[in-house]
Amino acid sequence: MSIEKSSHSGEHRELGGSAGLPERFENPGLEPHRHRLADSDPKRAKRSERQIALIFTISILASIAGVVGYAVFPVDIDRASVLNVRWSTLVVGLGLGIGMLGIGVAAVQWARALMDDGEKIEDRHPMSAGPAAHQQSLEILRQGADEANIARRPVLKGAIAGALALAPLPFLVPLIGNLGADWDISKFKRTAWAPREDGSGDPERFFEGTYRYLARDPQDTKIRAADVTNGNIVHVIPHGLPEEEHYLEEKAKAVVLLVRVDPSILKEAPERADWSYDGIVAYSKICTHVGCPVALYEQQTHHVLCPCHQSTFDITDAAKVVFGPAKRALPQLPIKVDPEGYLYAAADFDEPVGPSYWQRER
C-alpha cells in the first residue's frame, strides 16, 4: 500500500499564484474511521439486532406459508382448477422467494450493522516462489525427460502418440453420430409435395395416385378451387401428412400459403404461366431468410410479412422480396385442378425452401 516517492519528480508544470499547488499530491490514506451509532450505543445495537431477527422471522414465516399454500391449493390432476394453479404458483413462489431473500437481506444487514466494520489492510504477497524453487522444478523436469529417453525408444513414442490420438474418440464419435443419422442434404431439396411418379399414392390423397392434394391446416381437408375467394387466405399442408412418419419435420418444409388475387394484377413469368390457376397462387410459407413462417398476409397490398425480421414479399409478383433481409423470393408451388375441382400440386418446389445453406447452389 505504500507509494514510491522517487518517481518522476522533474516534470511539473509551473503554476502561477502565491497560493501555489504542492509539488505532488500525497496519498491521503484512509479517511478517519467513523463509528456507527450501534458501536457506541447499546440501545441502537439492540434495535439492529431486533431488526435482523424480524427479517429472519419473516423468512421463516414465508417458508412455512409456501408449504401451507402447496397443501391448501391442490394442483393434482383431479382437483386442479385455473384458480388453484394461480394461487398455488403465487404462494409457493412467494414463500420460496421471500424465504431465501429474507436470509440474504438479514445476513447483509447483520454484517452492515453489527459486525466489526473497522478497515483492515493486508499487503499483497509476492507471487513468485523464488529462484531456488524455480531451479529445482526445472531440474525435476529435465531429469524426467532424460530418464524417459524418448529419442531412443521409437516404439514407445508411436504408442503414446496413438493412444493420445484415439482417447477422445469415444467422446467425439457418439457426439457427431447423434447429430443426425445421415448427412444427405438432398433431403432439403425434396418436400412432401414431390409427386409419387410410380403412382403408388393413396388415391384419396394423391390425384391419380401421383400428385398430392392440397389440404387445409390443421383440418386436413381437400380444397376446392372455387372455395378460394379473392381477399381470402388458406394455410395449406399436403393432404394426409399428419398421419405420416416425421410429420413435423415434413410439415416444416411443406407448409404453403394459398391466396387468390385478381388475375389481371398477377405478374407471371412465361415459364410459370401454368403454375397458378385462375389467379390462385401457392407459395412456400418458410422465409428464405432464416426460416420463420411468413404468414402475415395483408390482403389489400398483397404483401406477406415475416414476423421475425420484417422481410416482405409481394404475392402478385412471384413473391419477390420488397423489404427486409431476405435475399430470395419465396419458392412457388405449381398447382393444378382435378376434374372434381380440387387443387393438387403438379410438382415439388423447383428449388429448396427456406434459408440458404452452404451447399445450396444459388
Binding site: 467513523r34 456507527r36 439492529s48 404458483t89 466494520d117 387445409r216 381477399g231 404468414a295 395483408e298 410479412l305
Partner: protein, 259 residues
C-alpha cells in the same frame, strides 16, 4: 425544486425510483373493461332509412349507390356483416386518412347500423350478420379453436389475441375487448388488411370454436404477469427496467454504510 434536488442522494431515493418504475410498468398494462354488442336480425331494419343515412354520411367517399370512387371501394356485395362490423366498431365513417381506419366510439346506434346494413344488402348478396347461436362461445370447442387460431390468426393477432404490428403503421388490433359477433364478422369479411376466412376455409362451427378460445382467454388468469401478452418485447423491457433496477438497488444498499 431545490428540496427535490437535495434529496436525490437520500438513501431511500433508489427505492423510491424503483417503486415508481414498478408503478409505471404495472399501470401501463392495466386492461380496459370489456364491452359487448348485440346483433339483432335485419328483420326490423329499414333499408329506406339506411339509404338516407348512407347518402348523408357515406356517399361522399363511397359514391352514390355505393359503387365506389377513387377514395373508397365499392360496397356492392360486401354484405350486411361488413357494414355492421365497420360501423358498430366506429371504423366507419373514417375520421382521417391514415395507415388504417381505427376503431373509435361508434357514430351510429346499433339500429342505424342495421338500417345501413339492410340498405347495402339490397345492392347485392354478401355475408350476413351471424345469429346469436353462431357466435355463442358456450357452444364452441376452445381446444379446437386454439388449434385453428394458432394456424390462421396468431401470426398477426398474437398467441392469445393481444394484437401486433404489421407494415407501415398498420397493425392487427387486440381482440381482448371485441364481441363474439364482431370477431365472427371480421373472420367472414376480412376488413382492411385482414384476409377473409370464408365458410369453406373456416366453417361456421370452426369460427365459433375460435370465438370460444378467445373468450376463454378473458377468464381466470392462470397466474403471472401477462405484461400485455405481447411476448419478448414487453418481457424484455420488464427485465431491463425492473429486474436490473432491483439488482442495482441491492448493490447500492449492500455497499452503503449503516448509520
Amino acid at each position: 425544486m431545490s428540496a427535490l434536488a437535495r434529496s436525490r442522494r437520500h438513501r431511500f431515493a433508489p427505492m423510491l425510483l424503483l417503486a415508481f418504475a414498478l408503478l409505471v410498468v404495472g399501470g401501463a398494462y392495466t386492461a380496459l373493461a370489456p364491452s359487448s354488442a348485440q346483433a339483432d336480425a335485419l328483420d326490423n331494419a329499414d333499408a329506406g332509412k339506411g339509404e338516407a343515412l348512407f347518402i348523408a354520411n357515406c356517399a361522399t367517399c363511397h359514391g352514390p349507390g355505393a359503387v365506389g370512387t377513387d377514395l373508397a371501394p365499392s360496397l356492392v356485395g360486401v354484405g350486411p356483416a361488413a357494414v355492421h362490423f365497420q360501423v358498430t366498431t366506429g371504423r366507419m365513417p373514417m375520421q382521417a386518412s391514415g395507415p388504417q381506419a381505427e376503431a373509435k366510439p361508434p357514430q351510429f346506434s346499433e339500429d342505424e347500423a342495421l338500417d345501413m346494413a339492410a340498405y347495402i344488402a339490397t345492392l347485392g348478396p354478401g355475408p350476413s350478420i351471424p345469429t346469436e347461436e353462431q357466435v355463442d362461445p358456450a357452444l364452441g370447442s376452445a381446444p379446437n379453436g386454439m388449434l385453428l387460431f394458432r394456424v390462421n390468426c396468431a401470426m398477426c393477432h398474437n398467441a392469445v389475441g393481444a394484437g401486433g404490428a404489421l407494415t407501415e403503421g398498420k397493425y392487427a388490433p387486440s381482440l381482448m375487448n371485441s364481441s363474439p359477433t364482431i370477431i365472427y364478422e371480421a373472420m367472414l369479411t376480412g376488413p382492411q388488411s385482414m384476409p377473409g376466412f370464408n365458410d369453406a376455409t373456416l366453417t361456421p362451427d370452426e369460427k365459433r370454436d375460435i370465438i370460444a378460445f378467445l373468450m376463454e382467454q378473458r377468464g381466470t388468469n392462470p397466474g403471472g404477469l401477462s405484461l400485455g401478452s405481447l411476448g419478448p418485447v414487453s418481457e424484455g423491457v420488464w427485465v431491463f427496467v425492473v429486474g436490473l433496477g432491483a439488482l442495482i438497488g441491492c448493490a447500492v444498499w449492500i455497499g452503503s454504510r449503516s448509520s
